[in-house]
């Protein structure tokens, strides 16, 4: 099969589209022009040196990394820029937190506790640890995706080294009351470290790592339209973490290798843009989000909202199941109409299993297969939302007309 030819034909088949609305910021997205502008000098003429070497281009790189650390640390209210560590991605940051955090603190015990709705960059390393003899407990959530506190309390014991629960769920937008959960955990076992994957919270909702009381937090660049292949791990001062990769150390003690300076500078600029008028942008996003949710549930029959409503839901997240509609077919049908979304259907993955998050909140298989995730950006306008609301019923209608039930 000629894969490349196929892909080219698929792209061509879209032809002239009336409007394009990109709603898949969960999985990737365009980098903002201001971010690209900020990065370009660091690719071309400035800071191209290795920051650990003693010459001017190296010191320029060093300066850029320190400035970015300071600014980003400020957005999450870290005590110092030294608590912020750049990583190659949010996936890597999650892996370091779990694997490196456990390794450095293994004398504290043999258990790791996560929730059932963590992203695969937490779930899979945890499963790997289980294979290596670590006790891994997955705490259930309620039908809106909130961690059950009594179950969490039961799961944490004297031997629990790390608890990892995401601040905002990547699929259904549940904003977890992390501060309360940290209190529950620390009261039971003050030695237990608390990590939160804040990839979907950073730049969308304000949070303060000291107020939350977490020991580690993962940040992500591409989800706020910064460059990909860059992320960060906040590690509270005094918390020990082992490296999970070895090699020549640079400005970081957490991972070896040459720093991605243009990426770091881009991440800094994307953060600055995201935090500018954060409250106002969140209010606008919530308006669009609720318009989509209300109109879709009202106008399209047999639809279910996945995740909570209102202020307990991330401002950019819309996740709806369309019954009698298979999700992969729906993503293609919508793509041909210029609306780009993702789905929790098994068919969009390499497994027969649909989204573990949707199953964990009690969705049936057929409900999970028909789910669509839309993530809004502050660049979207009213016309974009109207266009989605126009083509969605057409796409769903056509697929339902094909279905035997």
């Amino acid at each position: 099969m000629n894969v490349l030819m196929n892909v080219r034909e698929l792209i061509k088949a879209h032809g002239d589209i009336e409007r394009e609305v990109y709603l898949d910021f969960e999985n990737s997205g365009p980098v903002l022009p201001e971010v690209i502008e900020a990065m370009l000098p660091y690719l071309r003429e400035r800071g191209y040196g290795n920051p650990t070497i003693t010459h001017k281009p190296g010191w320029e790189a060093y300066e850029a990394i320190m400035e970015a650390s300071e600014e980003i640390a400020g957005y999450i209210k870290a005590s110092s820029f030294e608590e912020l560590h750049f990583t190659h991605s949010d996936t890597e940051a999650n892996n370091i937190a779990l694997l490196g955090g456990f390794s450095a603190n293994r004398k504290l015990g043999r258990r790791v506790v996560i929730s059932k709705i963590e992203p695969l960059s937490i779930l899979f390393p945890a499963q790997m640890m289980r294979k290596n003899g670590v006790e891994v407990v997955e705490v259930p959530v309620n039908n809106e995706g909130f961690v059950l506190e009594n179950e969490l309390l039961k799961a944490v014991d004297d031997e629990t080294v790390i608890v990892s629960i995401g601040l905002v769920n990547h699929e259904i937008g549940t904003i977890q009351p992390i501060k309360e959960l940290v209190e529950v955990v620390k009261e039971r076992n003050p030695c237990t470290l608390f990590h939160t994957d804040a990839s979907d919270a950073y730049g969308r909702i304000p949070f303060d790592v000291r107020e939350l009381g977490v020991d580690m937090a993962t940040l992500c660049s591409y989800k706020i339209q910064g460059p990909r292949d860059i992320g960060a791990l906040y590690v509270r001062e005094g918390v020990k973490i082992d490296r999970i990769l070895e090699g020549p150390l640079g400005t970081e003690s957490l991972w070896p290798g040459l720093e991605n300076v243009p990426g770091i500078v881009g991440f800094q600029m994307a953060s600055r843009l995201a935090f500018e008028n954060l409250h106002e942008k969140a209010r606008r996003l919530k308006g669009f989000r609720d318009m989509l949710i209300t109109e879709i549930l009202e106008k399209i029959p047999e639809t279910i909202l996945n995740g909570p409503r209102g202020d307990r839901r991330a401002p950019d997240n819309v996740n709806i199941s369309f019954l009698r509609c298979e999700g992969e077919a729906l993503t293609i049908e919508l793509s041909l109409r210029g609306v780009y979304v993702s789905s929790g259907s098994a068919c969009t993955r390499r497994l027969l299993q649909p989204s573990h998050v949707l199953l964990a909140i009690g969705r049936k298989y057929e409900e999970a297969h028909g789910s669509v995730l839309m993530k809004l950006s502050s660049k979207h306008g009213f016309e974009d939302i109207q266009y989605v609301l126009k083509v969605l019923p057409q796409a769903v209608g056509r697929l339902r007309s094909i279905s035997p039930f």
Partner: protein, 163 residues
């Protein structure tokens, strides 16, 4: 969520957009289903067969991905005008070839459509109390695969309920 951009062939996309022989066949001689909503793939095949055991018309309905819809469309085209013993010999590989190849993770979609077709043919003879000598007693690969997929979905959803 969705991460693997599946390189579907242009033919699959075309048939996904404009499938042939779509819909319930009101005067069908026989029908069969394979898959289940729980697998995320359900296909119904309708056949109108004449006295000489020739397929006059075949249609389908599908709840499934683009590959599922495209393979069903192709299959219902191929069988037209053929006698049932000949139709029986159509394997999933032939169907996959006809749609311009299926991505490996989507092979089961082609198998499911063929499985539904073989079930329909079995139903046709069962209804007539006939046992043609060319038809194997045991399930063929395509039928087994359909059954396995249905069972797996059932097991997985049961496991879910227990938790």
């Amino acid at each position: 969520m969705s991460r693997v951009p599946l390189p579907y062939s242009q033919k699959i996309l075309e048939l996904f957009r404009n499938p042939k022989n779509l819909g319930k066949l009101e005067d069908a001689t026989v029908m069969a289903m394979a898959g289940s909503p729980a697998c995320g793939d359900l296909i119904a095949i309708y056949l109108k067969v004449d006295d000489r055991e020739v397929v006059e018309k075949a249609t389908f309905e599908s709840y499934g991905c683009a590959a599922n819809i495209a393979t069903a469309s192709v299959l219902t085209e191929i069988v037209k005008g053929k006698r049932l013993p000949e139709v029986w010999r159509i394997g999933w590989k032939e169907v996959a070839k006809e749609v311009g190849g299926l991505p490996s993770v989507k092979l089961h979609c082609g198998i499911l459509a063929t499985g539904a077709l073989r079930r329909a043919i079995r139903n046709f003879y069962r209804k007539r109390g006939l046992k043609p000598d060319w038809m194997p007693e045991g399930l063929t690969l395509e039928e087994r695969q359909a059954l396995e997929e249905e069972k797996l979905a059932e097991v997985l959803s049961k496991r879910l309920k227990l938790e």
